[in-house]
């Protein structure tokens, strides 16, 4: 599905679906992106995590070529997202933060409308495939204002799948979606990944971040870290609490506890005095929140 391009920029591998290099964007005096740099591999589920106002939507708009960055480059599927934006848009699916569909129209009419933008060839079949994929085919002719919030999100996801995209850009796809439907959405995402689709999504929910193959943490328009969720979690400090004989308590913070814990314990000769060791491993959410608070991931 993914076709590598001949003119790759330095540092860009043929397997990169998105390469963002030193991106700056300011709205008046407020800067939304300050030198954001990251690369998304083809075929992965990539999460952009950060608080509201961190620059997530601005980054997405730059990827779709709707927004012109002040400085820096965005390459999507081997193409320049600004200059070649129409070629890029034909190959990507975009799901905005709001449902972004017309309330008075049915899912089928909405998809037929948006799908016609780049030509209507084979559209009927693709509308059917997309609506069946999200389980809305039965409700295809009901106006959207009769739908629940979750159904609207599903209709919006179906709309983003219309062109059988190689790259799916999802801006907070599960915001306001109940846990059952969220699980269904993630099944959809995994199903799309199996088909070779690259998924780039934003979220501010950590239970979603852990499901991504890799995660970038963005704060104040700057990228703090890009790693697998496990690697990010491993950056957290482990708090160790020793309960010694006679009720004495000793607390310490260590990095990689597998290596550092024995070292810590040699102070005590690993004697029988150590009754119990309890370890609190930070959750991904703890680590990311402390990064955002401190802006200092290595402590």
């Amino acid at each position: 599905m993914f076709t590598p391009s001949d003119d790759l920029s330095p540092g860009e591998s043929a397997a990169s679906a998105i390469v963002i290099d030193g991106l700056y964007k300011a709205y008046g005096s407020v800067s939304a992106l300050s030198g954001a740099t990251l690369a998304v591999d083809a075929g992965e589920i990539f999460g952009l995590v950060g608080p509201n106002g961190a620059g997530k939507t601005t980054l997405i708009k730059a990827i779709c070529g709707v927004l012109k960055p002040d400085r820096g480059a965005v390459r999507v599927l081997g193409l320049d997202s600004g200059r070649d934006r129409h070629a890029v848009r034909r190959r990507l699916g975009y799901m905005p933060q709001e449902p972004a569909l017309y309330e008075d129209l049915s899912p089928r009419e909405n998809l037929a409308f948006f799908g016609s933008g780049y030509g209507a060839a084979g559209l009927e079949q693709r509308i059917r495939d997309s609506l069946e994929f999200v389980g809305l085919w039965e409700r295809r002719d009901d106006p959207l204002h009769t739908f629940s919030g979750g159904m609207r999100q599903r209709a919006s996801l179906a709309c983003s799948l219309l062109r059988d995209p190689e790259l799916l850009i999802l801006d907070e796809p599960t915001a306001g979606v109940d846990p059952t439907l969220k699980a269904a959405f993630w099944e959809h995402f995994q199903g799309l990944k199996q088909r070779g689709v690259t998924i780039f999504l934003t979220t501010n929910m950590m239970d979603e971040a852990v499901r991504c193959d890799r995660v970038t943490v963005i704060q104040g328009g700057r990228i703090l870290v890009t790693e697998t969720p496990d690697a990010i979690r491993a950056r957290g400090r482990t708090r160790v609490r020793l309960e010694l004989a006679g009720g004495v308590i000793r607390e310490a913070e260590i990095g990689r506890y597998e290596e550092e814990l024995p070292r810590l314990l040699t102070d005590y000769g690993l004697s029988g005095e150590v009754r119990r060791i309890s370890i609190h491993r930070p959750s991904l959410e703890d680590v990311i929140l402390s990064m955002i608070e401190n802006r200092n991931p290595d402590g």
Binding site: V66, R89, P96, A100, F114, G115, S116, Y118, C159
Partner: protein, 249 residues
């Protein structure tokens, strides 16, 4: 280009057909306002002594109504498109600026045409003015006015973040249109400075065509200058409006 433009116009009309309340209002509002006009003017018998014919004002009031409704509606709908993210989605899904702007014109022209038809029928039954003979110039002028209204609407929509913020812009357009276009007061009776200002009020040109053709029984060709000016203003507004859309197509 044409198929995308058409898709937008069809979509807008389909939305309006679904919206029963809007459908009822778009017919009822001209009806009520025309009735109001008739009874207010009829209750002022001194007007007749001044040589003012109630029926003379009906076509101008109709033009004013179509202009006003198309302007307000297109502004609100575009603001909503931007707020709901459907405008951004249109861009990402391959629609171009000019297709969007012209598609809106297409959609609103249909609505304006329906309203014009309602108004013309009302004029026949309320004011006993039969415009069948002038149907072509009247329809063309109303259409040009709808283009101007949508152009203004798209332009104004850039200054409002939500539907509520559209309201301050309504009197900004309505008051000059009512006072300086010749609908209520002949332009030659205005102070010289305001006569100059009236040149930037688009409704002025529509009034000039309609008053000439309907009231003074002039031929449409003798009123071609104001008609073409109106069209030119519409085209310029549309071109300007499509450039003011902040999104990158």
């Amino acid at each position: 280009m044409i198929s995308n433009l058409n898709a937008i116009a069809v979509r807008i009309n389909r939305q309006f057909l679904r919206d029963r309340r809007f459908m009822a209002l778009s017919v009822a509002v001209p009806l009520v306002l025309m009735l109001l006009l008739k009874y207010v003017l009829n209750s002022l018998p001194q007007l007749a002594r001044l040589g003012v014919h109630v029926s003379d004002y009906s076509i101008l009031a109709a033009a004013f109504l179509v202009h006003f409704l198309a302007y307000v509606l297109s502004t609100i709908v575009l603001v909503r498109d931007r707020k709901d993210g459907t405008l951004a989605r249109m861009f990402v899904y391959g629609f171009r600026r000019r297709e969007i702007v012209l598609g809106y014109v297409g959609g609103y022209s249909t609505i304006a045409a329906v309203q014009t038809a309602v108004v013309l029928l009302l004029m026949k039954y309320l004011f006993d003015v039969n415009l069948l003979a002038d149907i072509v110039p009247v329809a063309l002028t109303m259409l040009a006015l709808a283009v101007v209204s949508v152009g203004l609407g798209v332009f104004i929509s850039n200054f409002a973040r939500n539907e509520g913020q559209v309201f301050p812009f309504i009197p900004l357009m309505i008051v000059p249109s009512a006072l300086l276009s010749g609908v209520a007061i002949p332009i030659r009776n205005l102070p010289a400075a305001l006569q100059w200002v009236s040149y930037v009020v688009p409704l002025r040109y529509a009034v000039s065509v309609l008053a000439g053709v309907v009231q003074q029984r002039q031929s449409f060709f003798s009123r071609l200058t104001p008609f073409l000016t109106l069209l030119g203003v519409g085209a310029a507004l549309l071109a300007g409006a499509s450039l003011t859309l902040r999104e990158r197509e």
